[in-house]
Amino acid sequence: MNDYEEIQRHTLCEYMSLFERPTIVNLAKDSKIQKTRLFRLINGVDMRLSEYLVLKQRIRALNMVENSLEELAVECEQHLNSYEISELSKQMSRRVRQKKLQKITKEYSTAA
């Protein structure tokens, strides 16, 4: 399975996990994607970008994570230029690297 298929499968699983009864009827009602199309997507047909975005938006809405980092990141992607996005991602990446270093350190200390 390539990365692209993996992302599609993960997105669908994540979306379906948010329903008590993830039937095609329920999913179609919520996402406004046609039932037959959803059936095909679940069976591995390539997802369109618009469908991916709809599902991601529904996942965010169902998780009730307004103003979350993910949502903010989407806004950044829409409004900022590539240089600004690159600057932000560098800063975030450095924070994560530092945290990872501390995390590894913590585990190391505990083990020692």
């Binding site: 560098k90 800063q91 450095r94 690297r97 530092q98 270093l101 501390q102 590894i104 350190t105 913590k106 190391y108 200390s109 020692a112």
Partner: protein, 157 residues
Amino acid sequence: MDLLLSQRIVLEAIANKADSIDKIIKSTGLSKSIVNNIIPDFLLLNIIQYKNSKYTLDRETNPKWLQEVSKIENVKMEIKEMLSSSVDLMNKGAIVNLRKIYLSEFEEKLLKIELGRVEKLIVDLQKNSGVNKDVKDMKVVYWGYSGYGDILKNRVS
């Protein structure tokens, strides 16, 4: 390759003759486990070497790392982090002064002369600063000025 501040200080300590793990820990003030995490990466990247039970900077095997860590975009990122951290420390002992003022051409010249003096002082102090001192005890000094409009333009554009 951009260095984290904790990685940078380890390199500075080694450059400043801290040649063993214990000396690096003492010089940087970092915990032993953090230093133990950083050192293997540096050894793998041939940034440092371990010879005769001593750590030293490796300027021969792959000298490109020096250019990499000195790249302007990488240095800028570190400066931003240091300035941001200094601002966070404003109420905890850090002295960060910032004023917005109008300057005439003459006043700007005066300011430049004064800043030039500060720079000279810093350079002289740097020349006299002793080796083998702990790098964590260094002070980070910043000075300079910019046009308010330029700062704004950079942010808004």
